[in-house]
């Protein structure tokens, strides 16, 4: 386990470094760093399932949405709650919890929802899984948009306490990274990776593909819920904010970084988020080495979309090659092997 520690420390270090830089910059720029850290949490949550199982999921953003809704509804002060979401059910109206509890509940709701959805869905793989998880995203978005007993509906939240500062965002992202690391080194993670490489052989070795996928799906749903809780405490969200666009950008991050490794998930999230933030800022006009740069709205999506397509075509394993970070080891040369050979 000790030799494997860099596998955890490097992604975690990248998160901490991002946070430390974020503390130094102006509060205007800090918003982008906070957003990046939340994206890291989401992408790592995606990675726990997609990376380890090799099954595509377009549906994880629905767990982010459920986590966000949970944390949001339970923390909006009661007076504002009556104004912002007049139709909300009585229980949700009178129930309010603290900040940390709202995040824990967000994670719990994400986990429970993923478990419930996963029991039937984890029997599918390949394209069917892609479409079915997409259907889950559509249903979640549809219900959250129109069901006013569950929340504010189409207009989205307001007056959610913005408690996701640098501390909470960093700790949240770190929790995701640590859990992802512990999971992938556990026997369950290894079993799931075996099913990723060859489902038939893994099943023959006594691994229940369904059960291992379900475990990872629930775990990543829980992490996605936590990330959603952090997200709503960072900025008020509308149903459209946790729908196709977020699905696209987070999948792009995972794919660009390399969907097969934790390092890939973190690097992808940081790199694409950095690029995306810069371009988003450039839409409002930024100063680049004395040049005033103003880009039209939508440029960020064009660049990220192109980047994602190019990476998929030229380097489908992502920037990190889907490898974890490991310390360089001395290669044993042929001469060494000759020397080590026992004379007969």
């Amino acid at each position: 386990m000790l030799r494997r520690l860099p596998e955890l420390l490097v992604p975690a270090g990248l998160v901490v470094a991002t946070a430390l830089i974020g503390l130094e910059v102006s509060s205007y720029l800090q918003a982008y760093f906070l957003d990046t850290l939340v994206k890291v949490a989401i992408v790592v949550a995606l990675y726990v399932f997609i990376g380890n199982s090799g099954v595509l999921s377009f549906g994880h953003i629905s767990f982010v949405a459920l986590g966000a809704w949970t944390a949001g509804i339970l923390t909006v002060p009661q007076l504002q709650k009556q104004l912002v979401m007049p139709g909300v059910s009585h229980f949700l109206l009178v129930t309010n919890v603290g900040n940390v509890a709202s995040l824990a509940l967000a994670a719990a709701v994400g986990l429970a929802a993923a478990l419930a959805v996963g029991v039937p869905l984890m029997r599918l793989s390949g394209l069917a899984a892609g479409i079915a998880t997409f259907a889950v995203l559509e249903i979640t978005n549809n219900v959250l948009t129109y069901d006013l007993t569950l929340g504010p509906g189409l207009n989205g939240f307001s007056s959610v306490p913005s408690t996701t500062g640098m501390w909470q965002a960093t700790i949240g992202a770190l929790i995701c990274v640590v859990i992802a690391f512990l999971y992938q080194r556990s026997r369950f993670g290894r079993m799931l990776r075996a099913t990723r490489e060859d489902p038939a052989a893994a099943a023959a070795a006594g691994i229940s593909v369904h059960r291992q996928r379900l475990l990872a799906f629930a775990l990543s749903g829980g992490l996605a819920g936590l990330a959603g809780g952090l997200y709503i405490h960072l900025q008020p969200l509308q149903p459209s904010g946790v729908y196709l666009d977020l699905t696209f950008i987070t999948l792009a991050m995972l794919v660009v970084g390399g969907s097969g490794s934790l390092l890939g998930a973190v690097v992808g999230a940081l790199a694409v988020s950095g690029l995306d933030s810069f371009l988003a800022a450039a839409v409002n006009g930024v100063d680049v080495f004395g040049w005033q740069l103003t880009l039209p709205n939508g440029t960020a999506e064009i660049v990220v979309g192109t980047l994602m397509a190019v990476v998929l075509i030229l380097r489908p394993q992502g920037l990190t090659g889907s490898r974890e970070f490991s310390l360089p080891r001395r290669r044993r040369t042929v001469a060494d092997l000759e020397k080590a050979r026992v004379p007969t």
Binding site: G126, G130, A135, I139, P296, E301, I302, M308
Partner: protein, 302 residues
């Protein structure tokens, strides 16, 4: 004049048929390309979007209608072929899931290009809006577009069926979608077959664009997106592997949406997507190979 139950009128029924027809065409477009490339084209909606913008430019330049239609066909087919050359060809050897993610990226890319180029409000393509006017058939008011859509869809599907079963190109296409590698070994030219599928798929996207522009004259960068999501679900629902089940899947989802959208009161109709997608999930669980397929399709053994 109403059908016995609910408040289903013949008008609604015709609208359902029309929407089913348009979705069936889109389903064929997606299914044909899947057949030869094993690629689910998420960016199909953006081909339709491009067709919509082509029509809008046709109107802006005051082209006669038949010229706008030709222009629309030209733009969509060109984009379709371009997509194949630039994106699909390098991805051919990848897994279906990777290709799906790649086309997802292309879809967003094209959508953003349209947003940058034409703004959030888009452009207007109203030259075919007059087809919304009703026509009286046996005492029932039916929109002209409903009649045209059903007729066009039926015509296109018959022509396609003849193409597939009566010509050598069709034979090659069918051979390639049954077993691409063996077909190549037997002398089917891969690039030509794929180009054929991509062009036909583009033609159908253009037809769908024209049909959809009758209802939605405001062409924005999300034109065709929601429809494509439904059709993708429908195609998987019907069974991706064969063209006819895929078409039936697309048709039934369009028909269901058309009918339910007309019949349900608006406080229930807003949950229509949930019902449809829940049905998709159930079907996928019960029949992972699709509703309209027979047996087969077991997991590949080692």
């Amino acid at each position: 004049m109403t059908v016995a139950f609910l408040n289903l009128t013949w008008t609604t029924f015709a609208d359902g048929l029309a929407l089913g027809g348009v979705y069936a065409l889109m389903a064929v477009g997606i299914g044909l390309v899947f057949g030869v490339l094993r690629l689910v084209n998420f960016a199909y909606g953006q081909l339709i979007m491009a067709g919509g913008f082509a029509l809008a430019f046709g109107q802006q330049w005051n082209l006669p209608n038949w010229e706008s239609i030709l222009f629309c066909f030209g733009v969509v087919v060109a984009l379709s072929v371009l997509m194949d050359r630039v994106v699909f060809r390098p991805l051919r050897t990848h897994s279906p899931a990777v290709m799906l993610v790649a086309t997802f990226a292309i879809a967003f890319l094209l959508q953003s290009v349209a947003l940058v180029a034409f703004g959030p409000l888009g452009k207007v393509a109203g030259q075919f809006a007059f087809l919304n006017a009703p026509v009286d058939i046996a005492g029932v008011e039916i929109k002209k577009i409903a009649v045209i859509a059903v007729a066009t869809a039926a015509g296109c599907l018959i022509v396609l069926q003849l193409l597939l079963t009566r010509t050598s190109v069709g034979l090659h296409l069918r051979a390639a979608s049954t077993d691409f590698r063996t077909a190549r070994l037997l002398g089917v030219r891969a690039n030509r077959v794929i180009a054929g599928a991509v062009i036909v798929s583009g033609l159908f996207a253009a037809v769908a664009a024209i049909m959809l522009s009758v209802q939605t004259t405001q062409i924005t960068n999300t034109f065709g997106l929601q429809e494509t999501i439904y059709v993708l679900a429908g195609v998987v629902l019907g069974g991706l592997n064969r063209p006819i089940p895929a078409t039936l899947g697309g048709f039934s989802i369009g028909f269901a949406i058309g009918i339910l959208g007309g019949v349900l009161p608006s406080n229930q109709a807003q949950y229509l997507p949930s019902f449809i997608f829940a049905a998709v999930i159930v079907v996928l669980l019960v029949r992972p190979n699709g509703l309209f397929t027979r047996g087969g399709g077991a997991v590949e053994r080692v």
